[in-house]
């Protein structure tokens, strides 16, 4: 190695030396120093998480300027890695799998912590090699409300949840959630999370103090996965979860108590012609302050159309329980909101591999104000 270093620098030397005979430096020219950029942790940004399906071993999250949609950084996410953006901390989390020789050797799974200023790896924690190698659905990796525990959804295909104690810096437990999928942490109780189950219930888990074991309680059945399944993606406001079904029924679910309880349900396209249905990977985004749910909608919906790109974005007034606005959109399969004084929406056009910025206008309308090519197969968007 030492020898190599010498040779390397010999080359550099040489390059400089050889250039010199024909060169003079202007006295007033100060050479630019090559540095490494940093982001302000407070800089608003959009994370566009790309599974890069044609090179699935090399996924990445593009960090975008929300105004210009220009790239301001990149975080590698490996082979179908999951991505989580916490609310309170200057960190983002990646759960991924590596094979030591790209596609060969023993798989190892890791929870990685990246600094949001330097985008450098701060910490990596080995987790059991069972995490779901899946498209990037937000509920597949979540933190407890106090940040003490990270929860990673597993699938072998049997399902369980890896619990990582971030204080101890290691995996503290694994909680089976058979027949269920997705993690919805309680807002008030740091040791509680719920999961969505194929039998039409939610199950709420209460962890012990060490994050090793959990007891579970099932809710009443509130949906039928055969007849009208719920999208895994939910929008969360405190202990209130907003789910939407394939056929467009909105469910307001509280996870504040011992078990999840449905507080309200209503069909969002009740009186609208055209078989409009929600669709996509991340089919809705909540503006909690305004009480408005934005949903990706396609018409002519039918069994199997639940990932079809949207033709319109509908604004659902959650208090009035009715459509407040309908706006045309490029084909879109993912929607996210960047909160703030003037919140904006962001979408993914999967056909053009583009990210779209929408401004929110009065009365539930949205307007495309910017479109930029980003990556190849962005599934998840996060605004922060």
């Amino acid at each position: 190695m030492r020898q190599n270093s010498r040779e390397v620098f010999a080359t550099l030397l040489l390059a400089s030396a050889a250039v010199l005979p024909t060169v003079a430096t202007a006295e007033d020219l100060r050479p630019e120093k090559v540095t490494v950029a940093r982001l302000d942790a407070a800089t608003p940004r959009i994370y566009a998480v790309d599974i890069a399906i044609n090179h699935i071993v090399d996924g990445r999250a593009y960090v975008l300027n929300p105004e210009t949609l220009e790239m301001i950084g990149l975080i590698g996410t490996g082979f179908a890695g999951q991505f989580y953006v916490p609310k309170g901390r200057d960190e983002v989390y990646v759960a991924t799998s590596y094979y030591p020789k790209l596609t060969r050797g023993d798989r190892s799974d890791w929870l990685e912590v990246y600094d949001t200023q330097t985008l450098e790896l701060k910490k990596e924690i080995r987790i059991v090699s069972r995490r779901a190698q899946a498209l990037n659905y937000r509920p597949l990796m979540q933190a407890s409300t106090d940040g003490r525990f990270m929860f990673v959804q597993n699938a072998t295909p049997a399902t369980s949840v890896t619990v990582v104690d971030m204080k101890a810096g290691k995996q503290s437990g694994e909680v089976p959630n058979p027949g269920c999928y997705g993690i919805y942490p309680a807002a008030a109780k740091p040791n509680v999370f719920s999961t969505l189950c194929g039998d039409g219930t939610m199950r709420s888990f209460t962890l012990d103090a060490k994050g090793a074991k959990a007891s579970a309680k099932a809710s009443a059945k509130f949906f039928d996965a055969d007849k009208d399944a719920l999208f895994l993606h939910a929008e969360q406001d405190g202990d209130t979860l907003w789910f939407v079904s394939f056929q467009g029924v909105v469910h307001k679910v509280s996870i504040a108590g011992e078990t999840a309880t449905v507080e309200d349900s209503f069909a969002l396209a009740k009186d609208v012609e055209g078989d409009w249905r929600p669709g996509g990977y991340q089919p809705m985004a909540l503006d909690a302050k305004a009480g408005m749910l934005y949903v990706l909608m396609h018409k002519g919906g039918a069994e199997g159309s639940h990932k079809n790109p949207a033709e319109e974005i509908w604004a659902i007034d959650l208090k009035a329980k009715k459509v407040a606005g309908r706006s045309p959109t490029q084909p879109a399969t993912t929607l996210a909101i960047l909160p703030g004084a003037k919140p904006a929406l962001f979408g993914v056009n999967p056909i053009d591999a583009a990210v779209i910025r929408y401004d929110i206008e009065a009365g539930g309308a949205v307007k495309e104000t910017k479109t930029a090519k980003v990556g190849e197969a962005v599934i998840q968007l996060e605004g922060k």
Binding site: I56, T159, Y181, L196, I379
Partner: protein, 179 residues
């Protein structure tokens, strides 16, 4: 019933078959059912986007007769992934050097030539880097991961030692009553 079960099993090599049978004895069918929920038509294949497929499901008209390198080929009515027929495999063989996934799911597709419905086994081929060709995506009867057996946004090579996803085959393994 047993007959179909055996035929499905026959796709798997001897050693694996023994494990499956042992597994069946250990768990019993009811335990398995309880484990991942009620399944109607099992499994799925791979994370995939409906690129170029935003028009949704097309009719498989007999007069169109797409080849097995087209997404619209009748056997692909529920396939989600790269077609192995475009990657050096065939409709029922993995490309050279890939390995057949041990887990698979069975869809039901109608053959336009005889209008019968066939059971199609969608096996992933694993252990090679992603093929990148002929990306297809149909989501008929697909469900989120709480119905893991019919979820297709996940790598179904996940159970393999070499779990990299390469492409997907579509083998006929039976005839449906519906057909």
């Amino acid at each position: 019933m047993l007959s179909l079960f055996n035929r499905l099993m026959s796709k798997i090599d001897g050693a694996t078959e023994i494990v499956v049978r042992r597994s069946a004895q250990l768990h019993g069918r009811r335990s398995a059912l309880a484990h991942i929920g009620k399944v109607i038509v099992g499994g799925a294949v791979l994370p995939m986007l409906p690129f170029d497929r935003s028009e949704g499901l097309r009719a498989h008209a007999a007069d169109a007769e797409p080849t097995d390198q087209a997404c619209e080929y009748w056997r692909y009515c529920a396939l989600d992934g790269f077609l192995c027929t475009c990657c050096g495999g065939s409709i029922s063989s993995c490309p050279p050097g890939a390995s057949v996934s041990k887990v698979t799911w069975v869809g039901t597709c109608q053959n336009p030539k005889d209008n019968k419905s066939y059971l199609i086994s969608y096996n992933d081929c694993c252990g090679k880097t992603s093929c990148g060709r002929c990306l297809c995506n149909f989501n008929l009867r697909e469900r989120p991961g709480y119905r893991m057996g019919v979820h297709n946004d996940i790598n179904w090579c996940m159970a393999e030692k070499h779990g990299m996803y390469h492409c997907t085959v579509a083998a006929v393994v039976g005839i449906s009553d519906a057909g």
